[in-house]
């Protein structure tokens, strides 16, 4: 199944790494790890797709093959009709890439200097550049940051700066690897709003990996779940919830005790994990956490606590549980 009309198409794509492990001082063992194990999908122009899965599932490896950073070990892969690894430089003009953990901006220089470099590097005509920059500055709230050296920006400001930098050359595809990681609520909302607008108005195709379920809920109509290098689910987000709702959705109460204790027992919750003095208690998402908190506080030496909403890992984990 090769769909060359699609903007992005993968057909049986594989990536195998040789991993050398030292077993003893002299002997080394060579092992093959299939990071991506035969993935096929197609993304049409203008789609906004979430690409999710647990750590080490092969998400980043796929993105890196789609951007030409890594060479696939097998299968066929096309982005805008280009074979990424073969024509990396030509592909670069057609794609924008944002790595959440890494910046492409010039650390010691004002933000606008990095944009000037992008203009020259991508040979963007000045009028087009001004227009694109103005739009990004306006919508990502960058006006006051343009003259600030990048090293002085906060994480959220820098992320917004990076997203703008990836879009000044009008890419057909925007890849975002964890675009909201570590951002505060306001920055997250700003980034999401901007991406939605970008997709609606300019028809930019967006492929994003994330750990944040809300990113997907608010942005993507289509979700792909990958695990152990294989595509486990490809469809609407609603379907994913259905697939995962074999067990009822659960929230987690994380409690820090004064000292290490045996798993504590509280009615209405069960301990799912213990790590030193910290314990994780799962309870049904529909239930209030308040009675649980007071029960724990009454009986155990409680230092601190927090409540975690169900995230993608949970949804996926239950999806597997429901399948078995």
């Amino acid at each position: 199944m090769v769909d060359d009309d699609a903007l992005i198409s993968l057909d049986g794509v594989e990536k195998v790494f040789d991993v050398r492990r030292r077993v003893s001082l002299m002997r080394r063992e060579k092992r093959q790890v299939r990071a991506v194990d035969g993935i096929s999908f197609a993304v049409a122009r203008g789609e906004m797709v979430g690409y999710i899965g647990p750590n080490g599932a092969g998400k980043s490896t796929t993105i890196k093959m789609l951007t030409g950073i890594l060479n696939p070990s097998g299968g066929r892969l096309r982005v805008a009709g280009i074979d990424p690894a073969r024509e990396r430089v030509r592909l670069a003009h057609r794609i924008g890439v944002v790595f959440g953990q890494r910046t492409t901006l010039w650390w010691d220089l004002p933000l606008k200097d990095s944009y000037g470099l992008m203009r020259r590097m991508y040979r963007v005509p000045r009028a087009r550049f001004e227009e694109n920059l103005e739009r990004c500055v306006d919508r990502l709230d960058l006006a006051e940051l343009l003259d600030v050296p990048v090293r002085q920006l906060s994480l959220g400001q820098r992320m917004r700066g990076d997203i703008a930098a990836a879009l000044l050359h009008d890419p057909d595809v925007l890849y975002l690897d964890e675009p909201t990681i570590g951002l505060d609520v306001v920055s997250k909302a700003k980034v999401r709003g901007f991406l939605r607008q970008l997709n609606e108005e300019r028809g930019t195709t967006v492929l994003l990996t994330t750990h944040d379920l809300q990113d997907i809920e608010q942005l993507c109509e289509r979700v792909m779940v990958i695990d152990h290098g294989r595509l486990m689910y490809d469809g609407a987000l609603g379907g994913l919830h259905a697939a995962g709702s074999a067990g009822e959705s659960e929230r987690t109460l994380v409690v820090d005790l004064e000292r290490e204790l045996a798993p504590i027992s509280v009615p209405g919750a069960r301990v799912v994990k213990v790590e030193g003095p910290r314990q994780w208690l799962a309870f049904p998402a529909g239930q209030s956490a308040a009675p649980l908190v007071s029960a724990v506080a009454a009986e155990y030496p409680l230092v601190d606590l927090s409540v975690r909403e169900p995230d993608i890992e949970d949804v996926i984990a239950r999806m597997y549980a429901g399948r078995d």
């Binding site: 790494f17 030409g68 950073i69 890594l70 060479n71 009709g81 590097m121």
Partner: protein
Amino acid sequence: MAEATGTAGTAGTAAATAGPAETRPAREFTDPEAPRAHGRVLEGLRGYGLIVAMWIRSTMTYRTSFVLSTVGNAAITLLDFVAISIMFSHVDVLGGFTLPEIALLYGSCSASLGLADLLLGNTDRIGARIRDGSLDTMLVRPVPLLAQVAADRFALRRLGRVVQGLGVLGWALWSLEVDWTAGKVLLVPVMVLSGAAIFAAVMVAGAAFQFVAGDAAEVQNSFTYGGCTMLQYPPTVFATELLRGVTFIVPLAFVNWLPALYLLGRPDPLGLPGWAAFLSPLVAFVVFVPASLAWRAGVRSYRSTGS
């Protein structure tokens, strides 16, 4: 297959223009053709220049630090030569060479290495870039990777070494009584530039090796900085096996030994004919072939980091 891709690409673009015209502007500014070989070199040089300019501006934000480190750089390399001069206050000749003759060797290789170091000395940082994954961000830019790696953290302060090397070289040529011919005059700039090119090729090969061997910056440094330390002394003080190695395997002898011997009218200890002195540019060109092949193989084997 290339044909098929070409058609697919055109179909994609046609689909794009079929959409609302205002929201999806035509992309007249990206080159639809894959760049030709010489086009790639030009693109690389252009990208190199752009990135170098950014690094110079970055350094200039710390002006005092820049001035101090430039002066410091020149002073440190000059101390090298002071050490050699002090040695000559105790002996008159070393391996049959006088102080101005040694200065010729010292100045030429220092200028060559300085030039290579200035232009692409930070290629040895690629190991760190590979380990922390920041090479990924370079790989998604429309500039050949080698140009970006060469320009990485470009440091104008390294000009200090070039100036110092040329200074010592100038002094040597002034104090020596060279029997000047047109060939010998031409040989001086050819020697410095070819020497820089040979060191550059070694740096590229070393960088390529780091794709395989994690942090191998020291291997590369032993050939560049170590090689230059060796080339400061006359070839007559070294064992024949070493001379063979640096003539025929890693051809560092062509950086300055062979041209300098010709300038001084001395025979090559390995018995190579005088015209071998003029082979340096050719040697530089030839060593770039395995270096660039190694580089390509390295990039293809790049594995990136976990996330």
